[in-house]
Structures are given as structure tokens and as C-alpha cells.
Assembly symmetry: C2
Homo-oligomer: 153 residues x 2
């Protein structure tokens, strides 16, 4: 089952309606792989379904977050980016200097999650692990405050 189908299915299971707008928004989000601003996603949605309003994008993203399928992150750029939590987890290396984002797969957090789930009686849906530091390029050209914005992933 592809991610779009999984998402729409989860929406239905949770008692939410499967509207045209929500289908289009989920499809666009999955198609671009996440890492997108609410506004940019609106633009992408409009390419396929021009009648969908910006509000529905905001509300659908909020909904996906509640269902544990997405998560807003803030890179200090003024607008939240939404990432997919499809497989249940997401892993980042984030450069504090230029904002570069590297994704990686390896993760040892699952067993920690098991323990926490038991201790706090918390039903875990997904997790996000971020390492923050300085990327290779910024280490080389280590000029304070020299932001290289066009490296944003």
C-alpha cells in the first residue's frame, strides 16, 4: 500500500471524511516527500486542484499531525516545515550555520520508545531524532554568520 493510500485510510479509520480537498493535499504532500511549508504546499496542491483553499491545507496538515502522520518543524525561517512520519520515524542532521538538512536511516530509538511507552503509559505513534551541529562545508568556510541559504534541502 502506498503512502497516500495509507494516509487516506487512516483518516477514514479515525472518523474523518475523505473529501476531494484532503485527497489532493495528502497526495501533493506525499508526492513532494514532505519538508515543505504550508504555503508552498498550497501552491503545489493548486497545480493539480486549483479550487482547494489555503485554509484546507492548514487544517489538513494539523489533522495529519494529530494522527501522527506528519510533524511541523521549525528551521528558523519564519514558517514551519512539515515532514512526513510515514514509516513511523524521521531522522535529521541539521547544520546550525547554513540550515542544511541531511536525512539518515539508522536509528536506535525504537527500544528507548518501548521503555518510555511503558513508563508513562504513552501510546507512541512516531518519533523524530535530530542531530544539530556544523556541516562539512561550514566547517571549512568557518566564517561566523556566513549563511548559505541555497543549500537548504
Amino acid at each position: 500500500m502506498d503512502t497516500t493510500t495509507l494516509f487516506t485510510k487512516k483518516l477514514a479509520e479515525s472518523g474523518y471524511r475523505l473529501t476531494q480537498s484532503r485527497r489532493a493535499i495528502v497526495q501533493a504532500l506525499v508526492a513532494c516527500g514532505g519538508h515543505i511549508t504550508a504555503d508552498d504546499l498550497t501552491i503545489k496542491v493548486h497545480e493539480m486542484a486549483p479550487m482547494v483553499g489555503r485554509m484546507s491545507v492548514y487544517r489538513t496538515l494539523e489533522l495529519l499531525c494529530e494522527l501522527g502522520l506528519a510533524r511541523p518543524i521549525y528551521q528558523g525561517t519564519g514558517a514551519a516545515h512539515y515532514i512526513l512520519l510515514d514509516g513511523g520515524s524521521h531522522h535529521h542532521l541539521i547544520c546550525n550555520r547554513c540550515g542544511l538538512v541531511i536525512e539518515f536511516d539508522h536509528c536506535a530509538a525504537d527500544e528507548v520508545g518501548q521503555t518510555l511507552s511503558a513508563r508513562f503509559n504513552f501510546q507512541i505513534q512516531s518519533h523524530l531524532l535530530e542531530f544539530h551541529g556544523i556541516c562539512t562545508d561550514c566547517q571549512t568556510s568557518s566564517l561566523k554568520g556566513e549563511d548559505v541559504d541555497d543549500k537548504l534541502s
Copy 2:
């Protein structure tokens, strides 16, 4: 050495000036333990140092993020919250329903960080690990969309 001293020291080491405003902002942020909005931090700073402007708070927070001492997170509340990465790491259990945040200490991410640091030649300063799911209360009163805002930590 307390956190405030550590922060001001890091600022100086990195070639930034230790101004009255920055001292006050760092002090207020550390005093409240992080988890605060830029605007709320401004209010807190004003209690001790009324002459500090909102702009300096924004700029100082951005600076702390670049130095790996803080990190903005987005809880879907319209404004970014800043958390301290003092000890080098931060760990959350976040409820997707009501926004409750539980902090925990245990973490097995350090060894993963070592591996990644080597593989990507990435100089790691800190990390953030978040587990997302449904908290105890929300599991009990599992009414779709029932947000309990006054539980925010």
C-alpha cells in the same frame, strides 16, 4: 559553572560581544528553563531589564541556535518555542492530541551520533529526540479533536 555563565562564555569565544541585552536575555531564558515563545521571553526579559527590545530577543535566540545552545520547535501553536540544549541534548514525549510535553532523560542516541559524525563529517553539537503519540489522558477521554490546551507544559 552554571548555564548562564556557560552561554555567555560561548558567545565570547565565538567572537560575539557580551552586551547588557544579551546577558539579560540569556539569563531570562535559562531562568525559565526554555520552552518559551520569543514574545513570552521578551515579556520575561522586560521584568528584569525593561529597556531591551523585542528585536534583540529574536536575534539573540537565533544566535543561540547557531551556537547549538538552543533550538526552535513548533508545536502547531502559531509561534515557535525555544528549548535549551544546554547539556547537549533534549528529549520529549509530545501528545499529538492535546500538546502535552513530557521531558525525559534516558537516551541512547549518543553512540548513533558518533557514527553519523564520522560518516558525514558532521560536527555534532547537540541533539533532539521526540516521541509523538497519545498521552494517558487523551487515551482515556479519546474524543476526536478534543484539545486540552491548559495542559501545555
